[in-house]
Amino acid sequence: MSETSPTPSEPAAEEPLAGLVAQFTSPEALKKAAARVRDEGYTRWDAHSPFPVHGIERAMGVRRTILPWLVLGAGISGGMAAILLQWWTNAFDYPHIISGKPLFSLPANIPVTFELIVLLSGLTAFLGNLVLNKLPEFSHATFRSERFRRVTTDGFFISLDATDPKFDEAAARALLESAGAAAVDACRVAAPARLPAVVGWALLVLGVLATLPPVLTLWYRSIPKRSPRIHLIQDMDFQPKYKTQAASPLFADRRAMRPPVEGTVAVGRLREDEYFHFGRTQDGWARSLPMEPTDELIERGRQRFDIYCAVCHGYDGAGGGIVSKRAIERMEPDWATPVSFHSNAVRQQADGQLFHTITGGAGKMPGYAALIEPADRWSIVLYIRALQLSRNAAAGDVPDEIRRRLP
């Protein structure tokens, strides 16, 4: 049935006539004959040549193919798909600012868009050609003619299909011979054999098997597993280096993380001035600020206090800040109410001790050394003193012009 087995020129008597094949000597002869066949009104016929003969389409009355329109459509779709892909992935689904460019950067998206237009157009052109030409078509009646083998070398042929309504063997032969055919062959072909059933079953089985990998993949990705994943690249996954908190046999204390050498000071952390950095003197707590108290310093202290301290201690320093109120409201079991600054105990504390509390914390309160610079901590101490004075002032402490305005 297929062209792989050579067929004899003399047909078996029982095989029906599928068509006639006539050979011509030159492209011009082929064109003239084609025009004759076209004019006779045949519709199921074809001309064959080893190369495209210029002008044969006109002689045969072949209409221009729609393939260019299919390719245009594919190109436009490819372009739109590319723009959509790039917009959706980079500007919508996971927006990513790269070197300050807009999320949807049309100039940067043009190259990929262009390539996808060409790719889809090219694939459509190639596959469209195959589909419209009905290729692959490994079996055809014309292959029954031995002479027809020359078609791909230097033979020019016309084939008439017996299923054409105008076909009549004798008339067709006469037409071809009068049109200048050098030889006319009859092509006899038995009823087309069907693909053996086993091929269909094999394809079905293969199709089912082909769905297994993606299905298994999706299944495995959706279920939790106890065993760890497979490590293909060993030396990337198990790198010969120590990670944080790991143990190391090299050191006596078996820690991989080594503390700095005794006496190491980080850059900018040499806190030589004990008074300024810790609020301590040789005789105990510092009793005053290391800098001159000024209006600006109090203002700074107020600002810093309102930021860092007021949330727990309240804006008045009495201990009723919103965090505390909330914790009490929620009945937090281990909440300790912040101390009021106006209590005698706190009022009697030295400036340095207050500073120390801010630095390192006390009880429930954490240390604020990492958050507040030392100078600012002193300014907070100053402000606390101001707050304390506000609840414990004598009439003589109020400035004259304000006292005059009081009722």
Binding site: L72, S99, K101, P107, A108, I110
Partner: protein
């Protein structure tokens, strides 16, 4: 085939002759009137003739680019030994040989620079140069004397090329000597090299140096691509016009229009490619000394002009010229050729005008007057040249091939 060719050229009208000479006069008059009106309007603006010079430069470069596009067409047909284009090549040769009037028309641009005028080129202003280290560094190139010498060289080269190729081709009309074709072909590679160098540096000198701090290595290619689009569009319109007036009815066929249309389409895409390359690279690296040029063309009302240019010079004509039928029907092809000629003018506007004033779109009667002005004189030159020779190379050895070929 040769006999057929001879018969065609014997029966159809192939020479403008006296009709051409009669058209040259009025064209010249209209041109001079336009120039005068433009100059008057420019004087009235009281800006030191800045707008006048910019508008003049824009219109001058427009018409120059048509001749340069024609020159490229002629040279490339010779270097590839093409046969299809013989019927239309004479039209391109005529365009390319119109160098005399183009030389005269460049004087209002070059002479003021030589005299120290800096309305157009800031680098010619000693105060500006003194205040900018960058301009001082460029002084060995951007100085009036060297500028003038270079302009002289460009026109000398273009004059030689244009006159040579028209001259030999016209000589062949009489003698039919195939040796002339061989000689024109042999000289075309060197001619193309000279063409490339002169066009590149002319674009640098006259257009790129409007903004002397800025630079782009692809600028010469950009100007060239636009010039070829303009030249091809003019060629198409000339052929259509001549056929409408009764000339060349048989020697220019649908196949020629199809091929010219294909070339026009290809160069529209090429222009788009070059324009995009320049834009995208400068946009991507975002280096301030380069982006200023585009920022000026994207700020305020200029952004609309940029978009109009993109659509009118690339996107719309791309689809317009895509189909086979569009290139084979004179009405459609002619429409797109005229459209692209306008788009090419807009392209030059986009190149020249932002250096006049940022922020607004300077468009006025002065631009129209100078378009007519420069165009009238240019057209007069074309008519003069065209009326002195036949409109088709009657005895070119490949004329028969040109008449016979068919597209797929």
């Amino acid at each position: 085939m040769q006999a057929e060719a001879a018969q065609i050229t014997a029966t159809e009208r192939i020479s403008l002759g006296s009709q051409g000479r009669r058209l040259a006069g009025p064209a010249l008059a209209v041109g001079l009137a336009g120039l005068a009106a433009g100059f008057g309007l420019g004087w009235l603006r009281d800006d030191g003739l800045k707008h006048f010079f910019h508008s003049y430069l824009l219109n001058y470069c427009f018409f120059l680019s048509l001749s340069l596009g024609g020159m490229f067409f002629v040279l490339i047909q010779h270097v590839t030994r093409a046969g299809w284009s013989v019927s239309v090549r004479r039209l391109a040769e005529i365009l390319a040989a119109n160098i005399f009037w183009l030389t005269v028309l460049v004087l209002p641009l070059v002479v003021p620079v030589l005299l120290g005028n800096s309305a157009l080129y800031r680098w010619n202003d000693p105060a500006a140069v003194a205040g900018s280290e960058l301009l001082q560094v460029k002084t060995p190139y951007l100085n009036p004397a060297f500028f003038g010498v270079r302009a002289l060289v460009y026109f000398l080269v273009w004059w030689c090329l244009g006159r040579y190729y028209l001259g030999r081709s016209v000589q062949q009309d009489v003698s039919g000597d195939p040796e002339l074709t061989i000689r024109m072909e042999r000289r075309s590679p060197a001619a193309l090299i000279l063409f490339a160098v002169t066009v590149t540096f002319a674009a640098f000198d006259w257009l790129m140096s409007l903004e002397p701090e800025w630079f782009s290595t692809i600028y010469g290619v950009y100007f060239f691509s636009g010039a070829v689009v303009g030249g091809l569009a003019t060629l198409i319109l000339a052929a259509i016009g001549l056929q409408a007036a009764g000339y060349l009815r048989d020697s220019i066929t649908t196949e020629h229009y199809h091929d010219l249309g294909k070339l026009l389409f290809a160069f529209v895409v090429f222009w788009g490619y070059i324009a995009f390359s320049q834009y995208m690279l400068i946009w991507y690296a975002n280096i301030p000394e380069e982006t200023t040029w585009y920022l000026a063309r994207q700020s305020g009302p200029w952004v609309w002009l940029s978009l109009v240019l993109l659509f009118s010079h690339l996107l719309i004509p791309f689809f317009g010229l895509l189909s086979r039928e569009a290139k084979r029907r004179k009405a459609i092809l002619g429409f797109w050729a005229a459209w692209l000629l306008a788009a090419h003018w807009l392209d030059l506007y986009y190149l020249v005008m932002p250096s006049l004033c940022g922020g607004r779109l300077p468009l006025g009667a002065i631009d129209a007057c100078l378009l007519v002005g420069v165009g009238g004189i240019y057209a007069a030159g074309v008519f003069r040249v065209a009326s002195a020779c036949a409109l088709v190379p009657q005895r070119d050895p490949r004329l028969a091939e040109s008449l016979a070929f068919e597209n797929i």
